[in-house]
Amino acid sequence: MTTGVGYFENNAPDGITAVLGEWRNQHPDMGVLALVAEQDRENMVPLLQNLCRGMGIPLCGAVFPALVADARFNTNGCLLLRFDVMPYTAIYDSLAPSHPMSRHTIQRMADDVAEHLDRPRGGTLFMIFDSMVANIATILDEMYVKLADRVRYMGANAGSETFQPMPCLFDNDRQTQNGALVMLLPDNPGAVTEHCYRAPERMISATSTDGNRIISIDWRPAFDVYREVVEAEYNVKIDRDNFYQPAVHFPFGIMRANDEIIVRMPVALEEDGSVFCVGEVPANAVLTLLRAPELDSLQTVDKLFQGLHELYGTLAGKDLLTFYCAGRRIHLAGRAEEELIALQKTTGAKQVVGALSLGEIGHSMQWGYPSFHNGAIVCCTWCGTP
């Protein structure tokens, strides 16, 4: 499968029309995955829908807080990723755990994908969830039980960095929310996910949780414990008013016995002291308050390079599709773009494109168990098999 990439900083239809027209002339069965910056959603999504409908081009896409193009973050425009032949694509809504059809929809997602697998094993299941869906880890568990190692798993969360609900998923005809965009990429060798957050010695336990809400830690209100631990471990004072800014530097980590860590970024605080995270925290999970990567560390880039090299060999001249965690960018601030530039330089990729994401999906081992991460970078090439 060959692909193409085009970034459009503004919503001038002529330029987009010209590129789509050229692509379609070369690839009559093509389709487009569009990543749209949140700021231009209201204009850009209808424009793309109209253009693609008019030209008969299958379209799917999602809205992200910012886009990655030329190894930089851009809060405007859209990024068009071309499939020479549009793969199986579907948008599912009603995934919110409170929705009565939620379990049925998850089951349907897995069944639909299984139905479109033309061989026992192969390809990558690329998923973009609305970040407002609170039970993504559970959904991935259920998908893995059903699909197992028949596919690799990768993906990211779309939506607004303010975590306000909005229709962030779309295709040719509709925009929706509280759902997922699922694409079955037949020949894609998968992605690499890394975050390099480190765990201190002190452990705490999420003694009471509800999905992505930690109600109590060590049998006390979650925020009280969080505040004490941050102060004790990192000498940083956190109160209700400044919660979000320092919290991105000290996310929760769910500890695994193999020393791996799943990052859970705290993003909101409730009156009762509950803390909301991006992603579920299982009840009784062993938690720690992670130390974010050092600002001058390139450890994550190195690990990504190793992983990508194992998968693809040389990346020279290839486009690197990257989803970069919004919380990570806040933590690293200006160093975040340097990390992207380092990634491009280290891998030798022609360009790094993608989006600022609100959660990342990947696995620590190829064909392994998919995990839902925060604070991570997900990378894959956008030019087919190596």
């Binding site: 500890m255 193999n258 009784n284 999970a285 062993v286 081992m365 392994g368």
Partner: protein
């Protein structure tokens, strides 16, 4: 990772294990957490069947059930199935091993996994986690989970025991449910099959149950009735047509007071708005003594009502027939005696008239006497006709020809003011009838019509053939199945009320002023029709004319006889005749007549006397003339005794009854001659002359 971290992970695992009560979620969630913590991509829980806790260590392979697997597509296809694995994967302690060989037998992705983490679960089985390469962590994975695996084994046993117990409860419940459903099914089969309508009502009178028979009778579907207030739907009202308010409705009373009601003549309203006559029973439904509803059982009594009406009609018809029969017998009896008297008057009158010269001043008186006697004879014949004791000479006749034959005469009877119309819908309608009597019927009906019309009107005579079927018989209360000719005689006269119609065929019943009618006209018609095995009915309404309908059996074959020429005047003879008649005047009359015609007459006053006279003059007597009914010894008995003495002797019986009557009683043989009184002398002589030839 420090001790605290390990304990925290074990704590989390212990919570997961302890939180499940069913085997499948227990093994699936435990496996999921193990995969999460170890980062192994694939794992399976293998358990020995329940009750089998040890495998044979001497065997190279063991059969075990794949209770759950996650992460390998091929492996997932074996979930829930028994698989065969090398015993090395079951034996020994927990271990993390890099060796692909034991994994080759597993039904998983081939040539991919090279590392397995074996975690024995007590005597229950083993957890195997598979990976293509060794994990990167520093913890001793083979030992770290050891503390919770014991709990896991106990949890498995507990879940199995729990599930077995639950299965037992479920089985018991299913058995009970099956029995309940079976009972329900049989009950519903009964309720669906019964012909009676059954409706269940709740406390508010809404239908909670309607069986198919009820829905069918009412013209609704059960769904249309269920949940609806039955009183309103059926618009309950009483049989007299008055609407019933809910508080008057027996069903409402059942619901309110718990009273039982059996209503024999209720009315329900059907969906199409028509009435459904019903008999219904309303019974309260009680639960712990409280009224919770009612059940209504009803049946459609439309047919029963129809049968009752038909029975009433038949009863009325029977009463009418019995009345007519009784009147007929009375009239017939009177006429019989009257005939004897008339025979004397007419006989002696006739002799007297023959002996008087025409210019004799007494001649005119005798003529008057004979005319009066003739009218009396006519009256007697009428009475006999009504009582069906009139002599009858039935032959195949063409009905239309009979009507055509009397048409001219009828016009004269009804006069010029009344228009006579005939309508022969079919030709060739044959009946077995006495032509004269049929003419009499038409004459009498025409006379009746004339009197009803007065001046200016129409008299219509129509003939056709009709089929009488069971429906006709049921609805009219008379008739029998078969093809009949129908003669309809319709006038446009004054008509009659219902009461008059019921008496119209009774003798001497008349609506005419005194002296204008005998009241025997329609009685004669009735008698003649009955004598012809037919039926007659009248339909009339005051002011709308009258129609008489006469049904006579249709003859399917037969030839219509030509009318005979009148017989010649008798000459008489010289033979000796033994005449036995208990009535002296008649005996004297007949003897005198026969002697006038040259015969020798030996008279006997009864049967015994006749027997004695015959014994005395047996050589001379050529003919016996006996009255059938006589005191001491009847004419028939006397003849039987004489015949033993003289088998060849000829006999002529006389009777005041009709020949049919006498023959039907078996008194006189079909081959024996019989004359009916009053007897004209000429007829007697003609008959004797014929017999002695």
């Amino acid at each position: 990772m420090n001790r605290e971290q390990i304990l925290a992970i074990l704590y989390e695992m212990a919570i997961v294990i302890g939180g499940e009560t069913s085997l499948q979620p227990l093994v699936a969630k435990t496996l999921q957490r193990l995969l999460f913590h170890t980062s192994f991509p694939c794992g399976m829980v293998l358990l020995f069947p329940e009750g089998v806790q040890h495998h044979d260590h001497r065997c190279e392979y063991a059969d075990i059930r794949m209770e759950a697997s996650i992460g390998d597509y091929e492996l997932s296809l074996c979930n829930g199935s028994p698989i065969r694995i090398p015993t090395t994967l079951l034996q020994g302690e927990a271990e993390l091993t890099e060796s692909a060989e034991p994994l080759n037998m597993l039904p998983c992705r081939k040539d991919y996994y090279r590392v397995f983490l074996k975690l024995p679960i007590g005597d229950c089985g083993v957890i195997l986690l598979l990976s293509p390469h060794l994990p990167t962590g520093s913890l001793p994975l083979a030992r770290i989970f050891q503390p919770v695996l014991g709990n896991f084994a106990k949890a498995i046993l507990l879940c199995r025991s729990n599930e077995a117990y639950t299965q037992g409860i479920i089985k018991d419940r299913q058995t009970a449910e099956t029995a309940f459903q079976d009972l329900n099914y049989r009950n519903s089969l009964i309720l669906d099959s019964v012909g009676e309508g059954i409706c269940g009502l709740d406390r508010d009178g809404n239908a909670t149950f309607v069986n198919p028979a009820a829905a069918k009778m009412l013209g609704f579907t059960p769904e249309e009735l269920k949940g609806s207030p039955l009183h309103n739907m059926l618009h309950h009202r009483s049989s007299d047509g008055c609407g019933l308010l809910p508080e008057q409705c027996p069903i409402t009373l059942t619901l309110r007071e718990g009273s039982y009601h059996n209503i024999a003549d209720g009315i329900f309203r059907k969906k199409d708005g028509s009435d459904l006559p019903v008999e219904y029973v309303s019974t309260p439904l009680r639960e712990n003594d409280a009224i919770v509803g009612a059940v209504i059982v009803f049946q459609d009594i439309t047919e029963r009502r129809q049968l009752e009406k038909e029975k009433e009609a038949l009863q009325a018809q029977l009463v009418q027939s019995q009345k007519m029969e009784a009147i007929g017998q009375l009239a017939g009896g009177v006429a019989h005696d009257f005939n004897n008297i008339l025979t004397v008057i007419m006989g002696f009158g006739d002799i007297l008239k023959m002996k008087l010269k025409s210019d004799d001043p007494l001649h005119a008186n005798v003529v008057h006497i004979l005319e009066a006697a003739n009218r009396a004879a006519h009256l007697t014949r009428s009475l006999l006709a009504f009582s069906r004791k009139q002599a009858m000479n039935p032959k195949p006749e063409n009905l239309n020809e009979i009507v055509r034959g009397v048409e001219k005469f009828l016009r004269r009877v009804i006069g010029e003011d009344i228009q006579l119309e005939t309508n022969f819908k079919e030709e060739g309608l044959l009946i077995h009838a006495d032509r004269g009597q049929m003419e009499q019927v038409l004459m009498n009906l025409a006379t009746n019509a004339r009197d009803a019309i007065g001046s200016g009107g129409r008299l219509i005579i129509q003939t056709e053939s009709v089929e009488l079927d069971s429906h006709f018989i049921k609805s009219h209360g008379y008739g029998r199945i078969g093809t009949f000719v129908l003669i309809s005689v319709t006038d446009t006269g004054a008509g009659m009320d219902k009461e008059t119609c019921t008496k119209i065929f009774e003798p001497f019943f008349t609506t005419k002023e005194t002296g204008r009618g005998t009241g025997l006209g329609l009685a004669i018609v009735y008698g003649i029709v009955k004598q012809h095995n037919g039926y007659i009915n009248v339909y009339s309404e005051p002011g709308h004319g009258t129609t008489f309908r006469i049904f006579l059996p249709l003859l399917t074959s037969g030839e219509v006889a030509e009318p005979k020429a009148p017989p010649p005047y008798p000459e008489g003879g010289t033979e000796t005749i033994l005449l036995a008649e208990d009535e002296p005047t008649i005996r004297g009359l007949l003897a005198s007549t026969l002697r006038d015609f040259g015969y020798t007459v030996i008279e006997a006053e009864d049967g015994s006397d006749a027997l004695a006279k015959f014994t005395e003059h047996c050589r001379d007597i050529q003919l016996l003339v006996f009255d059938v009914i006589m005191p001491k010894k009847s004419g028939v008995e006397t003849y039987e005794e004489i015949r033993k003495l003289c088998p060849e002797i000829k006999i002529l019986f006389l009777t005041g009854y009709t020949a049919d009557f006498i023959r039907s009683k078996g008194l006189v043989d079909e081959n024996q001659a019989l004359l009916m009184k009053p007897i004209f002398p000429v007829d007697l002589v003609r008959k004797i002359e014929e017999m002695l030839k």
